[in-house]
Amino acid sequence: MKGSYARFSLRRILALASATLTQLIRMRILVFLLIFSAIVVGVGFVFPLPTPEQQLKLLKDVSFGALQFFSVAMAVVATALLLPRDLEDRTLYTILAKPVPRHEYLLGKLLGLLALIGGGLIVMDLILCGVLYVRQEMVFQEFIAALRSEGLETPESTAEVRLMVDQQGLSWTLHAGVFAVFLKAAVISSLALMISTFASSTLFTVVCTFCAVIIGHGQQLAREFFFHRHLDGIWEKAASTVFAILAPDLQMFDIVDNVINGEAVPSGAMLSMTGMGAMYVVGYLIVAHLLFVEKEL
């Protein structure tokens, strides 16, 4: 039967992404969400700290730490598993035997994984926001009660405490922080996918991607040496240049540290960061396609 065949089909990609998402959910990866909830509630209500700001900050620090751990671990390990698992299950042959171009297969896999990471981050963001809001109000009431008992409650002191608590409490910028975590995970996932197209084993992909992640977090230091000429030796300079060129700058997405502190996030900054993230993802996907398109399976 001869039908119209599109060289690029969004429907095919979405079907592949949906299948990938189902495949990953079946690996019981989302159990982490329960662990995350327990961590957030534990840190939110168990740790007694002297200042209301520090109580809220610790809650955000630990929660964002867990968020980052979830996204990076998922981006590295789940991506590394995708291709080998499809080879092992022979689903890869079934898919590629149909008129599915290889770039669509790669895109579908990446989108499925990003949907899982994005969905997980949204759920964790909601849990964090809920707990933070409750804790914020509790901390405010406790502080005001303490001021009242000392006879120091005035409209001015109440306003100052409100300001202090609000700065460390729930704000829209926290979602910008979560989005930055997602962007970093997207870059790492595409990098891992690229490595997995030429890797000989899952372990090789995991190790290489973790190395790239570590180098990526030190990339600003490498660029600092490269641009600002702190190094005199030829070999040191060459090494810093290679690191600066090859590894993505993952520290660029680490706005979380300052978002936790209540810094405002201008839309221009978010756009720049998103643009850089998109550039890495597209670049690594092109390389992954070039390596995968004629690979003998």
């Binding site: 900050k57 630990v62 992640v213 990339q219 502190n261 900054a269 670049g283 390596l291």
Partner: protein
């Protein structure tokens, strides 16, 4: 995999790498200018936090590392290990220099807690006690001044500096300057009153006249605390203000009542 494809992939990777470096530099500079990215960690921090924490801080968990070191500093504070509190807060403030409460707490631990501890410690020679007291007050001031280099518009830090000058150094002039800076940053009325109270105890008539003007502003905006009224009445007498311009209230019975001001640290140590 064909060699042609491998070469193509390598070329794309190289092109991406060369193109991204200046872009990364520009975006990083922009994010730093907008205070979204912290300055790179120094070698001094690496030596102090240990390798694991340094790696975590590099990996986007700088705020978490600061919180963990803070817990350690809190334990040191409970054990009155002041040198350790000092060095740990130095580290915390290096990790998160834009967090106001870290500078504030570092200064409070030094200028109030540690200073009072040494002043009251009977195991130490009286002459040494005074010296240690002064050194820790100075250390508290140094923390606040360093914090203000990162956060020059922080009303809270200026106000805390004013508190230290008021309660610890007993310098109304410097306290007034700091409170005034705090008022300029935050426009909080109690800081304007605090400036006026400090200026009012200075011997210079120019300072006292400024105190009077500020108190009249506060009075006009509804601050009817006994202290405000008492000080205005004193100045009206002293400067011979015409009766028609004077405030209508009588001299209050309790001249020290201003709940906004009592919110400061209750730290007046005997003999200082």
């Amino acid at each position: 995999m064909k060699l042609k494809r491998i070469v193509q992939a390598a070329l794309v990777l190289l092109f991406l790498g060369v193109a991204k470096v200046p872009l990364e530099e520009r975006v990083t500079e922009r994010l730093r200018a907008e205070n979204l990215l912290s300055p790179p960690l120094t070698l001094e921090v690496r030596e102090n936090v240990g390798q694991m924490s340094f790696a975590a801080a590099l990996g986007g968990l700088r705020s978490l590392v600061a919180s963990i070191v803070y817990l350690e500093a809190y334990t040191a504070f409970e054990n009155s290990e002041w040198a350790k509190v000092d060095s740990l807060f130095q580290l915390i403030t290096r990790l998160q220099p834009r967090m106001v409460s870290y500078w504030e707490q570092a200064a409070a631990h030094m200028a109030y807690d540690a200073a009072a501890y040494y002043l009251k410690s009977e195991e130490i020679e009286p002459a040494v006690r005074g010296r240690l007291f002064q050194e820790h007050v100075d250390r508290g001031i140094a923390f606040l001044e360093e914090g203000l280099t990162y956060l020059p518009d922080s009303a809270r830090l200026w106000a805390r500096l004013g508190d230290v000058y008021k309660y610890r150094v007993k310098s109304p002039k410097k306290a007034a300057e700091a409170y005034w800076k705090a008022f300029e940053c935050g426009r909080q009325p109690f800081l304007q009153r605090a400036t006026a109270y400090e200026l009012s105890v200075l011997p210079d008539e120019e300072d006292q006249r400024r105190a009077y003007e500020l108190l009249k502003i506060r009075y006009g905006e509804g601050d009817r605390y006994p202290t405000v009224i008492a000080k205005i009445k004193q100045f009206e007498e002293k400067f011979g203000v015409p009766l028609a311009v004077r405030i209508p209230e009588a001299m209050p019975q309790r001249s020290d009542a201003d709940p906004g001001m009592n919110a400061g640290p209750n730290v007046d140590v005997e003999g200082r």
